[in-house]
């Protein structure tokens, strides 16, 4: 049967959710069942930093029921992702261990950037119009319970993405102790949101033209709900939204509960959400607001569908990650011909060594990003560029990458400049225990060594930053990686550097790189 039944579990800050999906090449992704259970994990985490025992208990029993439902549909696979509530909880490891032991379900924590990224996949899978919309300036605004994400698209590519600590539950919890009238409270929230967004605009938005806004995240789903269980709103103009916003502010909590069919707890979260979207609409000046109705479960299914090639996407998501990296490189003034040729060299090296390094597509992408970002440290300090680059990468979210992957890249970039030291490898392991695609420390070290070796060699090939070897051809023969160039000028600098880096390369892959200048006989 060409139809796969897949289950996605979202362990969110406010709800546990299970989605059952049918995935097929012919019909795409179809949700066939969807259950939700309200449980405020985020409240515990944001207030106490830990998730309490009672909630773990409740969580396990619900997830056990989820497992039962999954079984009844005979799903062939599942993914269970946990987001900010667990990501930030100090006891997340213990909690996830409990869940695993008691329910048999492996829950993985995904980083914010991964979470946001897969939601783009879901948007793309949801509507063919996605690619059309992002041709013009578009901002995807994802308001969650813990934080919000603003991503800018221009000419079919992701330009920039930023995470702001403006989640609705977080705002609500912050406001909980402020003793003011509801009206005053709304003004306060508005000020706070405005302030954060102002910085964002100054640094990232500049004079970009934003035509449309795509709203995702829990709260907008509720705000867009039709009255009395009816159809949800999908498209709305900025003007219409303004009217809606005014109306909403005048509603009592009871009124909100009734109109949007939510409980009191949820109702209290809708106003902050509405404020955030209003502010974003204002600062971006977008005039169309599209609400595709995406939930994290849909995103998980979309990611699975893409990875298992069960569904074809027109949009190239790796390209988005690269675009975001290139933009970052541009910001640190290191995006130039040298960086471009580095990208080419690492990819060429990677591809010609395919048989010998045993790495896949994802690693190729990481290598490419490392090449793009390899020189960003110089923006901070010419003296210690490696350390600076490491720090820059470690503190900048790159959409679509997990913490672990980002840390790998940061290290690869660092060791591009300093001696590679197997034993002194420093990793924030605890950050990526139980996360998606988790590797052991040893595996990570080997992977970093491999990537570093290639990056270094590539870097040596453009030592002079003059792209002398741009026409070089590479092939592996008799235990040697032969890099042949027909460049006729002087390549001494490259040659010297190349043979310096060749040693480490040979140490890692057992293949000796040799640089050969092809000279014309006459």
């Amino acid at each position: 049967m060409a139809i796969k039944i897949f289950a996605a579990i979202d362990v969110g800050s406010f709800e546990l959710e299970l989605g059952i999906y049918e995935i097929s090449v012919k019909n795409g992704i179809n949700k066939i069942d969807h259950v939700r259970h309200v449980i405020a994990l985020g409240r515990d985490t944001y207030n106490n930093g830990k998730i309490s025992y009672e909630l773990v208990e409740e969580m396990c029993s619900v997830i056990r029921d989820f497992a039962g439902i999954m079984q009844s549909y005979k799903v062939i696979g599942y993914r269970a992702y946990a987001t900010s509530a667990l990501r930030e909880a100090k006891n997340s490891q213990i909690v996830l261990d409990q869940v695993r032991v008691r329910t048999g379900i492996e829950v993985q924590i995904i980083s914010n950037s991964e979470q946001r990224f897969i939601s783009y996949k879901a948007i793309a899978s949801k509507d063919a119009e996605f690619s059309k919309i992002i041709e013009k300036g578009t901002a995807i605004v994802d308001v969650g319970f813990g934080s919000m994400q603003v991503s800018l698209f221009d000419k079919d590519a992701l330009v920039s993405t930023q995470n702001l600590m403006l989640g609705v539950l977080r705002i609500r919890e912050m406001m909980a102790d402020v003793q003011v009238s509801a009206k005053m409270q709304n003004t306060l929230i508005e000020e706070m949101v405005d302030n954060e967004l102002y910085t964002f605009r100054k640094v990232y938005l500049k004079d970009r033209q934003i035509k449309s806004l795509i709203g995702i995240g829990e709260s907008i789903l509720y705000l867009s709900r039709g009255s009395n269980g009816g159809k949800a709103v999908e498209r709305i103009t900025a003007e219409e939204y303004g009217e809606f916003y005014e109306k909403l502010l005048k509603m009592s909590v009871e009124g909100i509960q009734e109109r949007f069919g939510v409980n009191a707890e949820y109702a209290a979260l809708l106003v902050p959400a509405a404020i955030i979207f209003k502010c974003v609409l204002e600062i971006t000046g977008a005039d169309m607001f599209w609400i595709p109705g995406i939930r994290l479960c849909d995103s998980i299914a979309a990611e699975y569908a893409e990875e298992t090639k069960a569904v074809k996407f027109h949009h190239d998501f790796s390209e988005d990650i690269l675009a975001a990296s290139r933009n970052m490189a541009k910001r640190y003034k290191c995006h130039g011909p040298h960086t471009s040729i580095m990208e080419k060299y690492v990819v060429d090296l990677f591809d010609s060594m395919k048989k010998y390094h045993g790495m896949g597509k994802r690693e190729r992408l990481l290598l490419q990003i490392a090449a793009i970002l390899h020189a960003c440290g110089k923006f901070i300090s010419m003296k210690k560029p490696s350390e600076s680059a490491y720090n820059i990468i470690m503190s900048t979210e790159i959409i679509g990458l997990s913490h672990m992957e980002r840390e790998i890249i940061a290290n690869v970039v660092r060791y591009n400049g300093v001696e590679f030291d197997y034993s002194r490898m420093h990793l924030n392991e605890e950050l990526f225990r139980n996360t998606k695609g988790e590797l052991s420390k040893e595996d990570i070290t080997i992977l970093m060594a491999k990537l570093t070796a290639i990056l270094r060699l590539a870097n040596s090939m453009d030592r002079s930053h003059k792209q002398k070897l741009s026409d070089s051809r590479m092939n592996v023969k008799n235990g040697q990686l032969l890099v042949t160039t027909s460049y006729e000028g002087d390549i001494t600098l490259e040659s010297v550097s190349f043979s310096q880096k060749a040693e480490f390369f040979e140490e890692i892959f057992g293949i000796r790189p040799v640089l050969k200048q092809k000279r014309r006989l006459t």
Binding site: E15, H37, Y73, K231
Partner: protein, 713 residues
Amino acid sequence: MADINEIFNNPNNYVNRELSWIEFNYRVLGEARDKSLPLLERIKFLGITASNLDEFYMVRVASLKDMVHAKYTKPDIAGLKPGEQLEKISEKTHELVALQYSTYNRSLLPALKQNGIQVIVNHEDLNEEEGNFADNYFERDVYPVLTPMAVDSSRPFPLIRNKSLNIAALLKKKSGEEELEFAMVQVPSVLPRIVKFPKKEGEEQKVILLEQIIERNMGSLFLNYNVVTASPFRVMRNADLTIDEEEAVDLLEEIQKQLKKRQWGEAIRLEVEEKIDKGLLKILKRELTISSSDIFLISGPLDLTFLMKLYGVKGFEHLKAVPYVPQQVPELMNEDDIFTNIRKGDILLHHPYETFDPVVNFVKAAAKDPEVLAIKQTLYRVSGNSPIVAALEEAADNRKQVSVLVELKARFDEENNINWAKKLEKAGCHVIYGLVGLKTHSKITLVVRREEDGIRRYVHLGTGNYNDSTAKLYTDFGLMTCNPQIGEDATAVFNMLSGYSEPLQWNKLVVAPIWLRARFLKMIRRETKNAKAGKQAHIIAKMNSLCDKDIIAALYEASCAGVKVQLIVRGICSLRAGVPGLSENITVRSIIGNFLEHARIFYFDNDGSPELYLGSADWMPRNLDKRVEIMFPVEDEDLKERIIKVLLIQLEDNVKSHILLPDGTYEKPDRRGRVQRNSQEDFCEEAKLLVKAELKKLNPQASRVFIPNEGQS
């Protein structure tokens, strides 16, 4: 506007639901008085009025008594306080009972005798031979199970079981002491109430009631005494019932607070024969602490529910209506399995004209089908040996996921429900025992099946319970569909019933308690708006009871705006119809026929693009606020047409329908110059014709005419 609203909400414009219910029982009694009906059918209807009245007392009157004790004085929809309601109920029910017995004595007994069944009213009228037979029967079968009880200083007045029939007696010691003693014996409920005498060739069948035989032999129970007088009596208590869920929450709280004050086991109704000895009645009255208004002096046998048994006496089939055999469903008269047939298009089932078997088969087939992953169903009032329950067990055995919501709060059959629910649980089904604070009244079955092109969901939605026995007597609609939108909603319903959050949106189904009321009001007001805008506006609604104030007020408003409102309400109707300035555009009719009208159908004209819904909910506060109910649209044009036709035929019924007059009484429509129309009979005929037509299609030779196939097939 303000004064208009006042009119819509004025209690004078509403009818108290209890009084309206009594009106309903009068209509049922009308069937017993209808000489055009076969005799035993009339007997059955009289029996029904008696059992109806019993239930009414146990539930409604008991509840009102509780309110009075709790000093709860909130007036009802018609502005009557509980005490006032009780007064009126007492008056009305006394009249009703008088009419029941005059019907029995003056009309039915003579007619029975004419038709060969003689009920011997008094044991004194037995001849010697019959007397001997009765005495023998007493000695052999009755005496061993009797427990005579005397009352004296050492033996207090016994607790008399609710609804039991007893014989009270005054005794005098044979030794000659003057003092009279009270004694009683319960008429055993394990023995048949009707005792048949051996029938002689060519003579009528003589029968006598059990209590007469016991009364005749009272003396042998109290050997050292002379029986001075003996008379049957029957008590009804509010002992074993909780508060009726229809009442307001604040009442429940009030009563909980006042729990101690509640008089458990209080007698709320005493029935005695009208010729009872004054002294005996006085003792009963004192011991049961019952007021005069709750005493019924009966001119005939107590507890007429035995008439339903009389209906079953063999050998008199000619005195009954010809039994109707539910017909096959044309869409299913083929070799394909039920799932294939549903895929061909939605299937409408009209019970009992069409058989309930497809519903049972649906569950059975799902239990066996290897591709079925899950079966989910709500069950409420299921018959004892339900084939559906058996099929669900089998499904669980076949490792399908079976979820069943069992409603335990169904009136009077909790115990029965618990038994088979436990059985299901043992078989491995996931059983949900109802929801806190809500009664699940919706009737829905969901079958999830894995097919070539993915998961497909088959849904059965109905207006009646999954009870194969009542499906032969209740008129209901069922819809079988695999419409993905309804399937998605059905899944959402079961997820909600399992305790998960509500779905983000509904496609087609409308669910109570959260959404249904608002939806009804919206649809009624849409008609009002259309009428005001000069467009056509029309509502036809059929249900069992109508007593929701918001809905009625909205209907009044609609009527005033010019909306044509035609209601078919079998039972309680708190709305006043045809009142100038209030409801002149509203008509209400009640159909009381051989089958119990049970379907809920709602038609809204919607400015020329009509919407038609079926559902499980009446327009009663309890259905809209305290129950899980489902209303579903019928969108297939042919099926919609069929149901609208059913409504129109019912509106034309002039044999079994009763029209509500502005004064709150009902009368049969004027038939002069019109063709008789009995809607239930018409539907029976039509179902037969449809089957015939289908058979003809299947077997073209039968018609001896060749039918050229002119379609391009």
